[in-house]
Symmetry: none
DNA sequence: TCATAAGCGAGACGGTACGTCCCGTCTTTAT
DNA sequence: ATAAAGACGGGACGTACCGTCTCGCTTATGA
């Protein structure tokens, strides 16, 4: 008698799911997030509206999943490549870094991690510069901004955003900083989690609020200040 | 001939403007930003919709101005109080700090500045703790979040948000840091603008994205790490 | 690709359609046509505005259909009654006449026709007197006036108005006049269509433009003059 | 203390009045009556809205007066011409007839009257044919239709419409028919007012409701049937 | 093996809000 | 005092989407 609240996901149409992802990403890219509608996604995907409402709670959720799916597919594609040496690792790190906020599926780039050449300053600058480039790329930036904005306002979406996109990425920094601590390059009394935010948050701040331009020079300055500290006492 | 509808602001009804501010703030407080509509604001304010559309480009713009007006009025009210000595100044500074993101009109709290007791660490911790409290206050936080989220997505609004709310506040940090540099407490080669972001951005980051709880302890940790630096080199 | 929105009429909600008819007729009756709004009809019918816009091009079109539906239902109800003799037929004819302009659905009163007692003059006077009464009835007259006025200005509506309401009625006159021609009571060289307009148009004229009062005496005079002619030559 | 309900017409700006007439006629001609707004007329006339509201009760009233003014001016212009003989009188009559419904100011064409060549049938046909032409002229017809439609719905406007435009015209028919009665061409027991409506109403009927095309042939047929009558009895 | 029930495309539905257009009133400024 | 100008409270417009709700129509078991 009660309406079946939980649809049988084993019968779900994969064809429709992918079509919805594609349509959602295309529409957000073409017309912007705000002007993208569920109705529009359904029409573009050749799908009934109910099919969207059945599987996702909101437009933002669709987009978030579409985003994650995109990365997953990109990672699967990249997985074919053989892992390189140290020198190449830096390059990989740069590539891996393309998602401080845009994030990367845990199955994907998270595996690559932040390069460890032994020179922490250089490694961090390389990674943060790549992040700057990524954030300045208009193509990826627009939908990411939209997701971030929606996450700020919608706690449920925000939790998913953080868990699926952000945290996997931040974990890489924690790992690298711990390694640096183990190597005696970072004070033992430093909390890696706080340290990471000292590095990442300034970039995010400028990017989200557009207070000032986001440049390589800024990335370098942030690394220098954070590592060295501000006081003369030290 | 041109469709450029530029209304004559000298004939603007002050009564309506204030009624709209009040209605907007009340509705956002009661039902949340997303469920607040222009139609609802107009109805609550006893005003024609067109009167809103005539003077503001968007719901967010109304709310931003309402916010600024609120602070201005609060400041004007506070202006009646006599300025106190050093001890009281610290209290004032804390109060003034209630708007890292919520911001304060330049005519208002900006005049108070960040306390300068000579102990930079203590001063910053006091200010950032107050900021944490402010950001954790559900009343002010909700509309500020909404404005921030909208600013991320709407560059025009974002520019106003930064200029009117954020920058006046950030300027206080720059001033305090410069004073610390002059007193020889902060390295001469530190860019105060970058330094300030090292302090503020981590809080904003946690607040906006809700990655981890925003506590006094975190504020202290950020100050400690930022001032001391992360490396062992020093 | 084409923006031609042609809704699927097989899925149309009959419940809504009838509710809209009822609401439209009620509102026009209570507040007048000019003050009746589509929004008001939708609200009263408990229906979304779009449901009206989906199926009708204008307020007038809604009212016209509501009118036609009303007659159809009235006719269906009347269909239960057995047909009477000659004497009763005259009464029926009078009743049937209640819609020179208000009209009658072809399925309905049109079947009754104009009485044929052999006395053309008497038959026409009876019918036209009934028409006068109908046109002077404030209840029916108001919406009919509105429809007529709208038809004058909107050719599309006008065509529907004429086809659905007016012509079925006028056809009855043609039939009666042809019968009179066959009976040798009307000149063979008379065009029944023209003749009918000689009888009907003067009433409509006075009714629409309110030049002079519309009375039984006037109806009689029109019949007398039309049948006899004006010239002395005859 | 009480608001001045009756403005001082001696202080009225003639410049504005004429500008309003011109604007009203131009807009109705260009965009149609329904899409013509008081606001639009005021803007086009370079006049404040209040100036219209001060002197006219409705959009229709403005248009009606504009119409009357137009005819008055046309008549004044025509008044310069010398009156011609019998042959020319027929032509004049035709010209004068251009307003059975469109009407003519009493100061104007009403002075000309319907030609009286002694041949009533020919005179009426000439006049009604001219009327047909006038009604078929798209330029004059559109605003006249609009006024007629509005008159049907608005009794106050309707009264003005009839009194100022229609009756002066109808009076000419009464005069001509009385002359024919005096000449023994029309039965003495015929009411000229009814007779006139027998002639005019059929044309108006076809014109307003667009039941069938309005042609010279129809005008002739109406005259023939009306004068001769329909019955064989005679 | 086939009814039977799910997901699905489609889209009508009751609604809400949008942003626009005008209404008729009122106020300000200039002539 | 009238006029031009136009802001104002208000109401309706017609549109766009929302999220829900049937409709047939596959499709894929499980009785």
């Amino acid at each position: 008698m009660s309406p079946n609240r939980t649809p049988d996901s084993s019968r779900r149409s994969d064809r429709s799911r992918r079509a919805i992802y594609d349509a959602a990403l295309a529409l957000v890219g073409e017309t912007g997030y705000a002007r993208t509608t569920i109705e529009g996604i359904a029409a573009r995907a050749g799908v009934g509206k109910q099919t969207i409402y059945r599987w996702w709670p909101s437009k933002a959720a669709v987009l978030l999943e579409a985003f994650l799916d995109l990365q997953e597919r990109a990672s699967e594609q990249a997985a074919g490549r053989p892992a390189g040496g140290a020198g190449e690792a830096a390059e990989e790190g740069v590539a891996a870094e393309e998602g401080v906020a845009a994030g990367e599926g845990d199955a994907g780039a998270a595996a690559y991690g932040i390069p460890d050449t032994g020179d922490l300053t250089a490694d961090l600058k390389a990674v943060l510069r790549a992040t700057v480039d990524e954030l300045n790329d208009p193509v990826t930036a627009a939908p990411t901004r939209a997701l971030a904005a929606e996450s700020i306002v919608d706690p449920v979406l925000g939790a998913a955003f953080v868990e699926k996109l952000l945290e996997p990425q931040l974990g890489l920094y924690v790992a690298r900083l711990r390694a640096a601590q183990a190597a005696g390059q970072v004070r033992a009394d430093v909390d890696p989690r706080v340290a990471l935010e000292l590095l990442i948050a300034p970039l995010t701040h400028r990017w989200l609020l557009r207070t000032l331009p986001l440049t390589h020079a800024y990335a370098d300055a942030v690394v220098d200040h954070a590592l060295r500290g501000l006081s003369t006492e030290a």
